[in-house]
Amino acid sequence: MAAVSVTVPKTAKRGEVIEIKTLAAHVMENGFRTSQTGERIARDIITQFVCTYNGVEVFRAELYPAMAANPLIAFTTVATESGTLAFTWIGDNGYSVSHSATISVA
């Protein structure tokens, strides 16, 4: 089961800059390690993360093998209106996870 965790305030004042903290459970196998018998262990990482706010992209990141396991990405966004923040993680081997949170902006 692909687990993710997103921390975002449930309410905010219009124009306030809010902090969003995201964590994804993922081994982030970097592709540079070798097994006991000398074979290269294949890369298996999350490669992309996108956050949209009522459908508009407000943050995007490309992740590389140098991101630690269970990657944390924390960023900010302006609370412009009430609605839905949608988060998507995409990675190797068909990894794709989505999560959303609603925010009420007064």
Partner: protein, 237 residues
């Protein structure tokens, strides 16, 4: 009776041990950034394991157990004459009461449950009940030289804590936060896994998971850390 108690006290509190007031958690040796990883519940990397633990507890244990507050600080404990740690207690419940198969050591289920149970007692003082026989056995293991490097646990962790070993400060080795998220493993692990790492570090053949030696060592370490606050789930390098 009082004389025996006094003698027992004398035996159990020898020189070489860290004075109780000078005991420090490994937390104090970490950088501000690593400590922040442990302190922030929303970004502690043990988060997912905790979530799984809560789900497993609700599905498998909540029908009998209300509340796990105060449980973890008392383990390892002597039950029906045998010293058991928390993992073994959980498995005993599973096999004896639930007629279910036991969880393997370091399995994600067992780590999740011990993390959840441990977190329920976060902030509480470690309080294992002293049993002379098992404590003496545990202490002997702690003070026994072993491995190709021929080092005893006490030589690093009682006698040289705080000093640098290959650029890393030596902690006092109190198991205040198990199971931990160890940055080196990039995952969760039990105290037994960490102890096996120590043994590999001194080039000793590590005891197997669940062996009486490891449980006795856990027990001695928890007693040595008595009164210190439980930090589960801790983050450690």
């Amino acid at each position: 009776m009082k004389l025996i108690a006094l003698l027992a006290l004398a035996v159990l509190a020898r020189a070489g041990e860290i004075p109780l007031a000078e005991r420090r958690s490994g937390y104090d040796l970490m950088s501000r950034e690593t400590r922040a990883m442990q302190d922030d519940d929303t970004t502690n990397p043990a988060l997912f394991t905790l979530m799984e633990g809560e789900a497993l507890f609700k599905a498998n244990c909540a029908s009998c157990h209300d509340d796990m507050k105060g449980v973890a600080p008392r383990y390892p404990a002597v039950k029906a004459g045998e010293l058991v740690n928390l993992e073994q207690q959980i498995n005993a419940c599973r096999t004896e009461r639930q007629k279910a198969r036991p969880f393997a050591y370091e399995s994600k289920e067992l780590l999740a449950l011990t993390a959840y149970v441990g977190r329920e007692s976060r902030g509480m003082p470690i309080a294992v009940s002293p049993d002379d026989k098992h404590l003496a056995a545990g202490r002997r293991l702690f003070e026994r030289r072993q491995g190709q490097l021929n080092l005893a646990c006490s030589q690093c962790h009682d006698d040289n804590w705080g000093k640098s070993l290959a650029g890393t400060p030596i902690p006092q080795a109190h198991p205040t936060g198990y199971p931990i998220y160890r940055l080196e493993w990039q995952g969760m692990g039990s105290l037994q896994r960490r102890l096996r790492n120590c043994m590999i570090g001194v080039r000793a053949e590590p005891y197997t998971y669940g062996s009486p030696e490891l449980v006795e060592l856990e027990y001695y370490l928890m007693w040595r850390a008595r009164g210190m606050k439980l930090e589960t789930p801790a983050v450690r390098p």
